[in-house]
Amino acid sequence: MKLVIAALLTAQAVSSPQTTFRSGIEVVELDVSVTRGGVPVAGLTARDFVLTDNGATQEVESVTLEQLPLSVTMVLDTSQSVAGDRLQHLVQAGEGLVAALHPDDRAALVTFSHAVDLLVPMTGDTPSIRTALGAMTGNGATSVRDAIHLALQIRPHDRSRPLLLVFTDGPRMPRSTRRNAPAWSFTRCVWNPTRSWTG
């Protein structure tokens, strides 16, 4: 369920003889979710909402209730460190998620080890996702940050609700045979200001 609040925002014109400007009214949509005890609250109207922008109360024009499909991007760690039971648990979790999707929902499957792979682009064809889940193997290093960046980039820009689910056991990993596993890596992002050695 999705509530869409359309607020009327009036641009404030600044008086200046040197400046050319346009004034007008912009409608801003805000997505909100209202729940009580984990259950969506029904029957809400514009009068039930107060919207402020930097402390200034805005007019809430309308509230619409929509049931929008999900677009779920599953981002699964398939590095060496999850090989075995952990990977099986990941597969089971993925299958559980796919089984819980509604007919209008869609899902994509991204896996990452040293490389990030788009195994299944966004689709409503859930059997193809189950097949891909069943074929996954654990190997290689962990490019979790790259995976998140790439998965965020490919999220659908439509009216569906995008949801990104990332499963990983973290970047540390034991190394395996070099023929198959090139490296352990903390992150492949070349510059990572929050994690640099120099703080």
Partner: protein, 343 residues
């Protein structure tokens, strides 16, 4: 007296159970390796009992040609490189045999000088194999042995610096699950260690001012230490690069440096250069997508992300990974080529 001698001979015979066909088989494997069938040869050597390998190689060093012996060196070395993560002790065994065979080959009359480039590169490469497996004491030991033979070899000083770098990564990288943030003392230790690594690279450059590997590593370390001299080192690495791997990494790191300083256009330029050198590797696509997003070019960021995701799965060869673990893959290729070159 006669009886005692007979017993002694019998004991010697049992202690050296090397049949002629074992030696022939061993040298045949070496020739198979030299003929380009490296994977098949290493797979077959891997199932030999170590006692048989020791015995056959001990005889081969006296009977095999220098060409066969160099091939045997690389047969053992390649096998060790392939298996060191899974079976470090077996890998160490094969590298020790390789070293013994190499010593024997270079000890042949007139061979020492001729084989010197090979031997130098072998020491550097083996150090990198141990480093990449985080067997840092073994790596330091092989560098020490190499420097005893070649005290002014810049590559061995680069190898020594790389051991320190990998040690820092192994011992000091924070555990993200605990959201660790370095304290001052921790940071000091890291910086002390990295200063040590930088010192090795500076030493290498004092021996060869155009050593691109040394410039690259020094630039990388200085990038992390927020040292303003990083850029000049990375520029020098680009200028002196002998292979695409170094050139690719230098551009990546220059991009990282510019990105850190929020010079996004410069970062884009460098990452584009990296992508031109290594169009099959995912790293520059991710970096470029990040930059385009930061520049507000959402469509371009998405396009690059998709392009990166659609690459064929050759990303394991991205030099980035070898750099992270300190593996001198170019050294491996060079050594292989040396033993496979037609005479």
């Amino acid at each position: 007296m006669i009886r005692i001698c007979a017993v002694a001979l019998l004991v010697v015979g049992v202690a050296s159970p090397c049949r002629a066909q074992d030696v022939a088989g061993y040298l045949a494997l070496a020739r198979e390796y030299a003929a380009g069938q490296g994977e098949e040869a290493t797979d077959r050597l891997a199932i030999w009992p170590q006692s048989a390998v020791s015995a056959a190689s001990a005889v081969a060093v006296t009977t095999g040609s220098v060409r066969d012996l160099l091939a045997a060196v690389m047969l053992h070395t390649d096998l060790a490189n392939a298996t060191i993560d899974a079976e470090p002790e077996a890998a160490r065994f094969h590298l020790n045999i390789a070293r013994t065979v190499l010593t024997a080959a270079s000890g042949r009359i007139g061979q020492r000088q001729r084989l010197e480039p090979f031997v130098r590169r072998w020491f550097r490469f083996v150090a990198s194999v141990y480093t990449s497996a985080e067997l840092l004491n073994a790596a330091a030991a092989i560098v020490h042995q190499g420097l005893e033979a070649f005290p002014t070899d810049p590559g061995l000083f680069v190898a020594r610096g790389t051991i320190i770098e990998v040690g820092v990564r192994k011992n000091f990288v924070p555990d993200w699950r605990r959201d660790t943030v370095f304290g001052t003392s921790h940071r000091d230790k890291v910086e002390d260690a990295l200063n040590g690594a930088a010192g090795q690279y500076v030493r290498a450059l004092s021996l060869d001012s155009h050593n691109a590997e040394a410039h690259l590593h020094l630039g990388w370390v200085r990038l992390f230490m927020a040292d303003g001299r990083a850029k000049s080192e990375l520029d020098a690495a680009v200028a002196d690069a002998q292979d695409d791997g170094v050139r690719y990494l230098a551009h990546l790191f220059l991009g990282g440096l510019a990105e850190r300083d929020n010079h996004l256009e410069d970062a884009r330029h460098e990452y584009e250069s990296a992508r031109m050198v290594g169009p099959d590797f995912q790293t520059p696509y991710v970096a470029l997508s990040r930059i385009e997003q930061a520049l507000g070019h959402e469509d371009r960021a998405r396009e690059l992300a998709l392009a990166g995701l659609r690459l064929e799965k050759s990303d394991a060869d991205d030099p980035w990974w070898d750099h992270r673990i300190g593996l001198d893959r170019q050294g491996l290729y060079w050594l292989r080529d040396e033993v496979r070159r037609p005479q």
